[in-house]
């Protein structure tokens, strides 16, 4: 082993100090521009953060690919069945007439919407692909009310940073940042392929976030909460998915 010269030692020290200072500055900038995901801690935190920050910068204004009608899958795959809880079954028996979407948190006018209330707001349809983290996929036409239309109705406060959404299955909840919440393709979906959204595909109401994998598109939505921090929800990781090892950000 060669002895390390004093000059090298000083140069190394300066470089290390500059590196640490640079990292600290980068972390502050990333925090300021909302590039740090809620699950940034832990052993896989660096990977989750790099992926989220890189993709958030890259996809600031991008639209998920939309497909021609001829590419709609003849055999879409529903994956999971309806939640077996009694509350859902009662709603199903009454044709979901009493299904409500509660909206609360950092909004000027907290409110509650029936599915037909949502249908009276602007509705759009899009033909996009659902890609499951397991590897399979299908294309369907999704008809729904853009989340932005609902957020406009309730008046989102300027400090809002995330929208948290809850399924009737209380163990299934998730959240998206405002970039995805205000994205034109993020739909509170109530229709699929020209009909009502089937229960097996998330009916009567499913959050569709087509720039992220299927698990972000939570089924059976009953409540939205607008917030500036995810710390008070569950374990503070932004979603029920990190409990099973999955990333909060599902763009990859």
């Amino acid at each position: 082993m060669r002895p390390i010269s004093r000059r090298k030692l000083i140069a190394g020290g300066v470089a290390a100090t500059a590196g640490v200072a640079g990292l600290a500055a980068a972390a502050r900038l990333a925090q300021h521009y909302g590039l740090i995901p809620p699950d940034h801690g832990g052993i896989y935190g660096p990977g989750q953060t790099l992926t989220y920050a890189a993709q958030r910068l890259l996809t600031m204004h991008s639209l998920a690919r939309e497909f021609p009608r001829s590419m709609i899958s003849k055999t879409p795959f529903a994956n999971a069945t309806a939640p077996p809880n009694d509350l859902f079954k009662r709603h199903q028996a009454s044709g979901f007439a009493d299904w409500r979407l509660a909206v609360d948190g950092m909004v000027a006018r907290p409110g509650s919407f029936s599915v037909s209330d949502l249908k009276s707001l602007p509705v759009r349809s899009q033909i996009t692909e659902v890609a499951c983290e397991e590897g399979w996929s299908y294309i369907a036409e999704w008809i729904g009310t853009p989340l932005t239309a609902v957020l406009n109705e309730v008046g989102t406060l300027p400090q809002a940073r995330y929208v948290v959404f809850f399924s009737i299955d209380s163990e299934w909840w998730d959240s998206i940042d405002m970039a995805d919440a205000l994205h034109s393709q993020t739909l509170l979906t109530h229709g699929m392929n020209d009909g009502d959204l089937p229960v097996s595909f998330g009916g009567p109401l499913r959050m569709r976030v087509p720039r992220q994998l299927g698990y972000k598109s939570v089924k059976y939505i009953t409540r939205l909460t607008v917030t500036d921090s995810l710390k008070s929800f569950g374990r503070g990781l932004g979603s029920s998915e990190p409990d099973y090892g999955y990333a909060w950000y599902a763009g990859i």
Partner: protein, 245 residues
């Protein structure tokens, strides 16, 4: 530094510090990607071609293994434990480590001329005859000559260049093409491959090619002299002929 210089001065390292460090970091990242990738495949061991494919569509081919999800028809009466959560997190973290390490290696190699000096075959060797000569020597199980302890032969150079400039870029591209967010920004990444499921199938085959390279690479290291080759890649120094006996 030419081969002759290296031979003339045994103090010169066989592999530079950057090459050695990036090599072993890549080894760790590759194993993490391989294991986590295999776990992810087990959740849906069916492959398709085109844009879409799922348990209700006809697969291009199916791996004859059980799955870790009960929704996949495999013909097996049981379901393996589901490992996708940590596997996905590890897969993408290891991918970042691999890509950033590759970037350091590529910048270093361009800067120092490592690609040109150590990897691109000499003009005289850029033909099938030269390649075949080395392969024939391998097949005859002849020991490598002294020069090969200090520099790569044309078959090694071709294999390493294929991995660095063909397989690594392809595995990154086909992997990124499976990201719905990346595809929203760069749709051509997935469309040029023929769709999402084609990208997934190609990712599987490119990964398989890398695994094949790994097996051959390790076999050749063992045949070429495990201790001296490992020593060259760990501490940099090549054992002298006397030490090697």
């Amino acid at each position: 530094m030419s081969t002759a210089d290296s031979l003339a001065n045994p103090g010169n390292p066989r592999h530079g510090a950057v090459v050695r460090a990036t090599h072993w970091i890549t080894v760790i990242a590759f194993f993490a990607l391989l294991i986590s990738g295999a776990e992810i495949v087990i959740s849906h061991p069916r492959f398709y071609w085109g844009e879409v494919g799922n348990a209700l569509t006809r697969p291009l081919f199916t791996l004859p293994i059980p799955a870790s999800r009960s929704t996949v028809p495999t013909g097996y009466g049981y379901v393996l434990p589901d490992q996708n959560g940590w596997s996905r997190s590890l897969h993408f973290q290891a991918a970042w480590v691999g890509v950033l390490t590759g970037l350091v290696y590529a910048i270093f190699s361009l800067w120092t001329g490592h690609f040109r000096k150590s990897l691109f075959p000499a003009a005289a060797d850029r033909n099938w005859t030269a390649l075949w000569k080395v392969i024939a020597r391998y097949l005859r199980r002849e020991p490598s000559d002294e020069i090969e302890a200090h520099s790569y032969n044309v078959v090694q150079r071709t294999a390493y260049l294929t991995v660095i400039f063909v397989l690594f870029p392809l595995v990154i591209w086909t992997g990124l093409a499976m990201s719905p967010a990346f595809d929203s920004a760069v749709p051509v990444a997935v469309n040029a491959l023929g769709g999402r499921q084609s990208a997934r199938t190609l990712h599987f085959f490119v990964s398989g090619s890398l695994l094949l390279f790994l097996v051959v690479h390790v076999t050749m290291v063992v045949l070429g002299g495990f201790r001296s080759r490992m020593r060259a890649m760990i501490v940099g120094r090549v054992a002298t002929p006397k030490e090697r006996t």
